[in-house]
Symmetry: C2
Subunit: 362 residues, 2 copies
């Protein structure tokens, strides 16, 4: 297969550009920009027809395997615009590594991560006026890839489509960071060792909706997932990774094959290590957590993810017991991590790790 | 919501009917008929726009939630044509019950099963010349439903599409029933209690491909899935349910929340009970099975599913040990079950259970 080059990509500009939305009322994930990136894959031919086209509906066979057997992977990252108008991405190489790891698990072909990042940069450059130039806001970038072969046999598809969609997002925390209430999930399971939990694939999210629905009906924002084997060890919170500060030690569940290897998670571990904090990736049981809370040793709890960066947990509900964390307030560590990572993303804080990747817009 | 009626459905006939395929060379799931059934759902409006249209590509948003978060359920059943030209379906009411159970697990709206069966019958009547009139052949019917709202938030979609696709299928066993070789899966897991294993949803199939790929590379046709919690109890084989005859007792794993409640499985249990056989739905460990095999008590092993009806297992591979079942031949019980169920389906054997449902074609 020939190596794809961004110079060879065709670009079709829209003739009907949309009006930019009011950023103050923007809802996450409902507004899309004027263009999208598309390429197609066919066994024997590889990836081909890389193109930027006007954002809009596409045609697909109703027998496309994605609808029936769910081969699909995706990624999520953000583009930020600083006060000087410079646009940067946050660690896009990590997204490409994870995308291809997800592809391995789902029996889907790899993409050329370098080319995809180049195409992503080109697309963002075209849409540069869609990137909000305000701290807390960003252009959400959604690479997604799915099976398109029209075939009802249970087997890996021989055809795929890869897209990059862009969606401007307003401030995640419109009124400052408010810690959320979390219910520990006792019945449903997000993933299990040997399953697809470590891959960023649609089925994991479809599977999670029911528990979320039950939690919301009971007044909780998210669920804390326990492992699928013993219902004993903490895995994730909602669609985020999770950290706890227990008696001075900062613990996040070790990657075990069923936990998603979050890029924000990885960045938080690196940052805490850089600061000389005592951060440990290990197995953490719900019993240990509850005991620590009851002994007054649970100092902080927070989720990490691309959307919120940091989402502090103010209350945990488990087995009829309500556990208030840090008096329901955001902890000093969570606040410091949030300020630093968002600062690096917006270019207002030094970036000792070279996490920022510039998007050329001229 | 108004009850939908099949009389109110719009029908658009194709102006370019396709040539019927050569049944002797037909590959499962690659040929589709001239028409398909479609209806759409929107929160607040319910199911609407029920229609039969020419089979072909459809337009959909690239942000449709099915591509990202995998809310999708499907069913599979067959229409058979007997020598008198009469067309029947096999237990379509069971498919509708399971479809709505899957919808519950995936936070998707119910369909009106009675209406869908009526629409299915109407579609099949239009395509009656596509139903092969030969024992062993059939028209495969694929109802499928997926999330269509253009939204990147992780939440149940507010819009869905439901389709029925039809695909003529040739003989599953072109050269008589040949027992297959099965590898017991030691690493990957199909489903776990608390997950989506009991629902007929895309993610389960996507998740299963990797183990299948490894098994095939090692010369096995399918994998025998063990439970996700302890890797100890038998769950399914490939995409089928599984039965073992051990020392006169016919055992199939009891439905436990992670096993798909197969309609062929249910029919086999009912048939065996009707015959006065000693059939038991219970937990069955791989250790018990291997011990029975080593003691010469494993008499038969077979999978059950819509595609093959019965798929005898001639060899099992587990922990380095090859176990040959019934000298690699189909057992007398498996053969009798196969002949009876396919006979009922084709109308050549009496149907004491009223499983056949007539499709009016005039």
């Amino acid at each position: 297969m020939l190596k794809m080059k961004v110079q060879d990509m065709t670009i079709e500009y829209t003739t009907t550009p949309k009006e930019k939305p009011d950023l103050s009322t923007l809802v996450f994930g409902k507004t899309f920009t004027d263009h999208m990136f598309v390429m197609d894959y066919e066994e024997g031919k590889g990836w081909h027809d890389a193109r930027i086209v006007p954002y809009g509906d596409m045609t697909i066979s109703p027998a496309a395997m994605v609808f029936h057997y769910g081969q699909t992977v995706f990624e999520g990252l953000k583009a930020y615009k600083n006060e000087a108008g410079e646009i940067t991405l946050f660690r896009p190489d990590e997204n490409m590594k994870r995308l291809n790891a997800s592809n391995d698990r789902l029996c889907m072909p790899h993409v050329d991560g370098e080319f995809v990042i180049d195409a992503m940069k080109k697309l963002i450059a075209i849409e540069k006026d869609w990137v909000p130039a305000k701290a807390g806001m960003a252009l959400y970038v959604r690479p997604v890839m799915f099976a398109t072969e029209a075939y009802l046999g249970v087997a890996p598809s021989k055809k795929y489509r890869f897209l990059i969609l862009l969606s401007p997002v307003g401030a995640y925390y419109k009124e400052g960071i408010n810690p959320v209430k979390i219910a520990v999930e006792g019945e449903y399971v997000r993933a299990v060792k040997g399953g697809t939990g470590a891959a960023k694939t649609a089925g994991n999210y479809a599977s999670s909706l029911k528990a979320q629905e039950v939690a919301e009906a009971n007044g909780y924002s998210q669920v804390l997932w326990l492992d699928g084997r013993e219902h004993k060890y903490i895995e994730e919170v909602g669609a985020m990774n999770v950290f706890f500060k227990i008696n001075g030690e900062i613990v996040t569940p070790a990657l075990n094959g069923s936990i998603l290897p979050g890029i924000t998670r990885k960045s938080v571990v690196q940052l805490l290590t850089h600061w000389g904090e005592n951060v440990v990736e290990r197995q953490l049981s719900i019993d240990e957590l509850i005991e620590a809370a009851n002994n007054g040793q649970l100092e902080e709890a927070f989720g990490t993810g691309t959307a919120a960066v940091i989402s502090p947990i103010g209350e945990l509900f488990y087995n009829g017991q309500k556990i208030v964390v840090n008096e329901g307030e955001i902890g000093t560590l969570a606040q410091k991590v949030y300020d630093t990572i968002t600062g690096i993303q917006f270019g207002t804080v030094e970036d000792p790790f070279d996490w920022r990747v510039q998007v050329a817009t001229t």
